[in-house]
């Protein structure tokens, strides 16, 4: 049984539903991320787990017991706030030991624990400094140490890296992962940055408009997206809209303005449904020969090219698709042969293409 269980949890603010019937299980010791665009309800879920918001309906279980009616100060969770919320009037050590102070643990024990944690976050000797004397990354680590000091079973982190600059962010990613490994605490991590979610997590839940779209390992999410939202939100994806003309054997054939394509039927749609087929830019190749080999083939015109060093992006006129189509290929030394306005043929394989029902708008 999972350590944190959300059972049909919903949260309404007036008429607005911020979290919509979310059910999910998070295992002990897992690094679990919620990934979603701004305003999709990530913070609200975290606040429900930590007890600051009471869900309108549904129940949260932690380590097997229902959290209903249990306040944030009595839950075995610790939350790292989006803005860190370090206490500005206390020293670094006092911040870290605050959770012990309120449990009336003696000064010496507190100091010892603070020193231990300072060592863990590589800030030994910083205990007597003022919070304002720390840099952004140091504050970040102090916030983590403060949360770990109460020895929580679950650590909740709300976009903890968003205030840092790029370099520091990347540095902190590995540091966070290390801390999680060392302590073995379950991490529930919130981010709208897919790079973070993908590199750090054991599992990721993709969220949109209060709902969970898909849960899985980073590979599953990236390679086998199961909803149009996941497909287009995580990584780059090309898409062709059309109508399903046959659906069998787990594969579907879809008629699009660019041609008739075959792909994996991801959601069990039926013949005649409005659908879209998704294919990653790096899964497309330029087809030299005229033979098809069961591949999906279409032709288009090069509208522009981006040279990025190790690889090259080709952009094709969107004549037959909703959006511009991009093709991403390794720089093999002969990409120079493409010209703007050149007519080319593109091939992609059905097993990498994913067909799913899409009657609405796809973000």
């Amino acid at each position: 049984m999972g350590q944190v269980i959300l059972d049909k949890v919903s949260m309404k603010f007036g008429d607005f539903t911020a979290v919509d019937n979310v059910s999910l299980e998070i295992e002990s010791g897992e690094f679990f991320s919620f990934l979603g665009p701004s305003g999709c309800g990530k913070t609200t879920i975290l606040r429900i787990i930590s007890g600051f918001n009471r869900p309108t309906s549904g129940t949260v279980y932690i380590s097997g017991s229902s959290m209903e009616g249990i306040g944030p100060n009595k839950r075995p969770t610790a939350l790292i706030f989006q803005n860190l919320a370090l206490f500005p009037l206390m020293s670094v050590a006092d911040n870290i030991a605050f959770g012990l102070e309120v449990k009336n643990i003696g000064r010496n024990d507190r100091r010892k624990k603070a020193d231990e944690l300072l060592e863990l976050i590589a800030l030994t000797g910083y205990g007597d400094k003022n919070i304002n004397e720390l840099s952004g990354g140091q504050k970040q680590r102090v916030a983590i140490a403060r949360a770990l000091a109460v020895e929580p079973q679950v650590l909740l982190l709300d976009e903890p890296l968003s205030a840092l600059d790029l370099k520091l962010r990347q540095h902190m990613r590995s540091e966070l992962r290390d801390i999680q490994k060392k302590t073995g605490v379950t991490f529930i991590y919130i981010t709208h940055d897919q790079g973070e979610a993908m590199t750090m997590s054991d599992r990721v839940a993709v969220m949109s408009a209060g709902k969970i779209e898909q849960t899985g390992t980073p590979e599953e999410i990236y390679n086998h997206p199961s909803t149009p939202f996941t497909a287009s939100f995580v990584g780059e994806n090309n898409l062709f809209r059309g109508r399903v003309i046959s659906a069998s054997d787990g594969m579907s054939v879809i008629d699009t303005p660019c041609g008739r394509f075959t792909g994996v039927n991801t959601d069990g749609h039926k013949q005649g449904d409005e659908a879209a087929i998704f294919i990653r830019p790096e899964r497309m190749t330029v087809a030299d020969s005229t033979e098809e080999n069961g591949q999906n083939i279409f032709s288009s015109t090069v509208s522009r090219m981006e040279f990025e060093g190790s690889f090259v992006n080709l952009f094709l006129k969107k004549a037959c698709a909703d959006r511009e189509i991009s093709v991403n290929m390794m720089n093999s030394g002969e990409t120079g042969r493409f010209r703007q306005g050149q007519q080319i043929r593109i091939a992609f394989s059905p097993e990498h293409s994913r067909v799913m029902k899409a009657d609405g708008k796809i973000s």
Binding site: P72, L86, F98, G99, S135, A149
Partner: protein, 289 residues
Amino acid sequence: MRSSKNILNIFLTGYMVLFFLYLFTPLMFMTAAAFNSSSFPTFVPWQGATLSWFETLFKDRILWGSVLNSVIIGAGVIALAVPTGLAGAMLLTSRGIRGRGFLYALMVSPILTPGVILGISTLIFWDNIGVPGGIFLTIIGQTAYISSFCMLMFMARLQRFDRTLEEAAMDLGATHKQVFRKITLPFLRPAIYSAVLIAFLQSFENYNTTLFVIGAETTMTIRIASMVRLGITPEINALAVLFILFTILAAVLYEARRRDEARRAEAAKEAEERESDTVQNLRLDMQTD
């Protein structure tokens, strides 16, 4: 264009000089008269310098008794109005309060109500329960409006408060009371000091409300007013001199503190700049790692 602006500035500066003269000349006359041996408080004609009026002042038992009353009332008002004002501010800065605008208007209305009205209504109310005018009633009457002043000060501070600090503390296991004692109150400390100071000054100053509820007792302000109306002697001037000296002293102290704070803010800013250097260094460290 330029010259017209200059003329304007000269005009404005002249105006300011006149304005300050207007403010301070009466106070200077009052001060000068305290040292004139004339038994009427004036400095023309000058009848020789004397400190005897200060002596009279220090020997004035009734006056010092009334000062003591004022201090007692001030302490009582602080004890009631500061916590009440804090409660009001906490109420109004909470989310999801229905009719906040109306409540706010209600809670600042005592400031906008003439003091005599507060005095009269307090007098009538307590007279009905059989409590006559006196020190207690004065404390009650003044608290009604001084609480509003305190509330405004606390609100200004609370609006700058980062609520996630409270949540963080609670998340770490603190009870509501611990959060209040260890996080909210320390943040409010400067506002508490100024609220105490303002509450005391307002109470000490008050005349209009006190007049109706003081009963047979007397406060310093009431005493001065009756001295002024029935037979003025330069003793009052001597008192005024003490007042002015005290005020100037307080003003100087305040200014010194303000400058000190400004300097500290400057230092903090420099530290921040240094911090961004540190981040720079950290980044270099990482790159060399």
